[in-house]
Subunit: 264 residues, 2 copies
């Protein structure tokens, strides 16, 4: 995949975007000095369970009870959990050889302005919809320029389908069908704006039928993070909220379950 | 343990504190309507790894590589993780038969004012130090009344020892030695103040030698949460910060790894 990308020369800016390679580990990416304000809290996290649809067709988590209150005086489980299931983060190392692992992502880059791009109308017409540069320009026209160090989230409407794996994955003949970011939109965000992360309310940053995972192979190696299976994006404003990415801080992890909380 | 507690009648207010039993699942516990402000971010989370000291003497996490970038084009691990290891949350169900599991803890109760009670001086003299009611009263004298729905955190100074398991656990002859909350202080917080959670920079809410885990057996069944192995409490102000508890939202969990972020 890496080699295919190089051959195609699809993302010519990879080397040029030197600053970006350390985006998530640099203190310079901290929120602006102006104070941020909020009054309420919105949970952008789906409940994770063995039933939650996964990319791999196997349960993303299993719980094993080790201590029981009646017998032991307390309850305690072990989990076996896949790093990329449920509402979760993709770290740069997920699609790179030497990118940042989760524990190296600076906390300052996990508290960021949230921009929600609503493509529900177009996604309802086309399950494979690709969020476009034009969708981003339309967001800016309605709101403001994308704020520095923000997270750009795609609201496709798919979050409502998590209880129905067939609909959520759109699986048909071995091919998934759900919306994602277009590589062109991701490239534009990397080159023309200063964006820390992208987020999707579907199973992936790339759309369902994607075979080359181009958004992953551009975005993550550049030192930025991604979020997948995000919930409740219809319950926060298009602009103005702050996203807190509560990613478990595990050494050498390529991702992991994240509690996403919007401060509005 | 539950029966011992009832016999002793230690916590007489359990039934009376009916409102408390649903504290973490009630929207009434949301932050005050006044806007909260912050300018910077402090990570209160230790990096979790198989080396992190645990209560059980076994590694709290193991990573198993399932996909490798060179071979597969991406990196991905499974984790086997204990719910109560590293910087983590205790849900009410951890020490109760029917308390709230993690996914039932309302997000509003995971974003709370943070009060840091500094007992480093006394803990340095006594590794088994119990944070007292007087420590809480002293905090209020210096700052203000504990704010409603806050988290009260003990800063014992033990966070600096996580790299040295013998010192962090204080293990000697099968008995741990590290500071914790006194049951009296916990009871006072439950009866006299409106507190959502307590947090410790040691391995437990109770101190090392505790055999009956009285703070756990009072606090958690009342519907409140706890946090253990909290990092960097010396890097936030005693009053005024907001704590975001990024607990993985797992169905039926009794706790789990939490990314703790202070907004200052």
């Amino acid at each position: 995949m890496r080699h295919a990308l190089t051959r195609r020369g699809f993302f010519k800016g990879a080397a040029a975007a030197g600053f970006a390679a350390t985006a998530v580990t640099s203190a310079e990416a901290a929120p602006a000095a102006a104070p941020r304000r909020f009054r309420s809290v919105v949970d952008l996290t789906h409940t994770m369970s063995p039933e939650f649809p996964t990319f791999f067709g196997v349960p993303g988590i299993e719980l094993q009870k080790q201590f029981d209150f009646k017998k032991d005086g307390f309850n305690l489980n072990w989990w076996r959990v896949i790093e990329h299931a449920g509402t979760h983060l993709d770290a740069p190392i997920h699609f790179s050889e030497n990118g940042a692992t989760v524990e190296k992502i600076a906390a300052e880059t996990l508290v960021v302005p949230l921009a929600v791009v609503d493509v529900r109308g177009r996604a309802a017409q086309n399950a494979d919809y690709l969020l476009s540069r034009q969708d981003l320009l339309d967001w800016e026209k309605k709101n403001r320029k994308l704020p520095d160090n923000c997270c750009v989230a795609m609201l496709s409407g798919w979050g409502q389908y998590v209880g129905d794996a067939a609909k959520f994955t759109g699986s048909a003949g071995g091919v998934f069908h759900f919306p994602g970011f277009s590589p062109e939109a991701a490239e534009w965000l990397m080159k023309e704006r200063k964006v820390t992360g992208i987020a999707s309310d579907t199973l992936s940053l790339d759309n369902g039928p994607s075979k080359d995972f181009r958004v992953h192979t551009m975005w993550l190696p550049s030192g930025r993070w991604g979020l997948e299976n995000v919930a409740n994006l219809d319950k926060v404003p298009a602009a103005g909220a702050t996203l807190v990415v509560g990613i478990a801080k595990v050494k050498d992890a390529t991702g992991g379950p994240a509690r996403l909380i919007a401060l509005v």
